[in-house]
Amino acid sequence: MQTPFEKDIQRFRPILLSIAEAMISPTLRGHLEASDLVQQTFLEAHCNAEKLAGTESAPLFGWLRICLKNNLLDAVKHLKSQKNDLKRQMRISELAESFDRMEQLLVADQTSPSQIAERNEQILILLALLQEIPPDQKTAVIMKHLRGCSLKEIAEELNRSESATAGLLHRGRQNLVAAMESRGQV
């Protein structure tokens, strides 16, 4: 039996998952799991359930994002202290800056014109729907569109041929757009 708070908060799970997956760079993949970070974030949310219950959706989402950010940064710090080869490649400040920039992007809906708010809503739906398509397609689309990787890089990461990867990307996009259309968002 889900409490209303539970229901409220679970809506953000796929969005946070997509954000976390996009944030975890190839160098960190294998060391960090997006789902672990999100799970931890939700655990913390549950611990603060009393405080958070009754919070409106936008501030609640903001709280979750900050919590996710801290969890990710802590995890990277921990990793850096353990793995020497990661030291040079990952910069905590850089990661924090990326998060801050995304924060600026996502909180724009509070004060900005309605079309921006509307677009932000669409972005969130896209992030949520990403979790509903098959995992390989999801990874390909995240790498292509959220991280700006080239086809070659994605193919290497997924261990597939370039033509197979291109197919994944195409089907991923088709599925996403279809899902968005079914929600009346295109």
């Binding site: 996009a22 760079s25 669409q122 700006g148 195409h170």
Partner: protein, 520 residues
Amino acid sequence: MLVEFERQIENDAASSDSQRLEWPLLDAVNFEQHKKLFQIIDDLASPIRTALCIAESPPTISDYCELEEIGRGGMGVVYRAKHVKTLRTDAIKVIRPDRLANVDPERAMQLRYRFEQESRLAARVAHQHIVPVYQVGEMETGIWFSMLYVDGPTLHECSNVKSLTPEKTARVIECIARAVETVHRHGILHGDIKPHNILLERETERPLISDFGLAEFETLRPDGYASGIAGTPAYMAPELAMAALSRVGSNDAGSIRSVSSDIYSLGATLWSALAGCSPCYEGRNQQEQLEDVVSRNMIFAGTKIECIPLGLERICQKCLEFEPSARYHSAAELANDLAVWLNRPSWNRHFPGLRTLLVLVVAPVLASSGILVSFLLRMEVNEVWIWLAMLWGYGPLFATFSASQRSSQATEAARRELWSVWIGHCCASIACLTACRILSQDDPIRTVEIFYPCWAAISSVTFFAKSGNFWIAYRWFGVAWSLAAIVLTIDRLFSPTIFGIFAAITCVVTARGDKAFDEK
């Protein structure tokens, strides 16, 4: 087919909009469909992509290979790379692509202009303490430039681990001040002097100043590209911080930046390198730091740091004056003051008894020698004894010098100068004595009568000479000895006694007053 599409899209993104490629291989209808799908997703995803933009893979630059990121500043990323042809290891600075994203085109253009100007300004001034720029080139995302790769820590890293002595720090800042002076002479203001921008070459310990990212021509400023106030709050002059707080328009900002603001930054850098911490209190954000700079709520204004020598503390304070006009007028002045401090003689650090020795041994010997000469003149003894009594004061004087030389840490230059001055004094005196003896035709009293005023005059010259590099008050000794030369003519029999007592007083005052004899 799909692969072709993806590649085409990638090529499209890389090339500019004006040169769209043809699509000979693709079925037009299919392409349009794919493109539409791609566009829907990408329109939504691109803001997040720009926000996340983490430049993990270094850019491709034609003349260089093996790029490895070594640093990241507000504007650019610095890579270490190998020049393909010469195999020399260089540092390459590239504008940060994420800084250009998410800003309006005008601002992006300003940033790009700034970056291009940085290479131009740094390349304009050649100085052994400025990181030289080798080559400027263009790539997809903007321009890059290569410069000397300095293998070594920054002054900030060194001061944090307290691996520098005050002497070494002063030497570093002296070199940097000379470099900054050259920069100023070219009409350029550096604008961002701080310990992070000073590199110390590991092998040679040569300090080099880098990062002309905020530098500007003092007068020449193209319209629309003026800077506004930028810099690092902790090392920013109060007048700039004040302007930054009141958000002065970019055109007025130019008139506030001056040589004096660079001098302030040099002072703050010196202070922070000596103290091993930032001049601002910890845990303050940028805005609060700016307010602190204006209200002088800084560590150097409040607490006294024990490890900073007094002389350097004074130099810092003069740089850090609130009023720009009260600071050094040029970086060269600062460099000169640091050089004077560095060359200061410090006899006593490893020879604690030196002051006592001067007061208790050398001074009585000098006084007694004068009294003895007066006495011997009355006794009409063999004149050889008189000459010996006259000159024997040099004995303990030189003995003291050689003893202190062996144990003191005074610089070689200071020691040489001290010896030169006093050996000169001795030689001139003996020559003068001989001349007086010849002119006075074997009359000892007459000789003494003429010689003592001459001797006083020689001493006067000696002390004037010493006032240059040693203690500034020695010039008053010089004046006093000049007057003494006249006083000594009053009574020829007592003149040796007066001279001796005068010499003893000089000796005691020197030992008491000259900082070089301080126990610390």
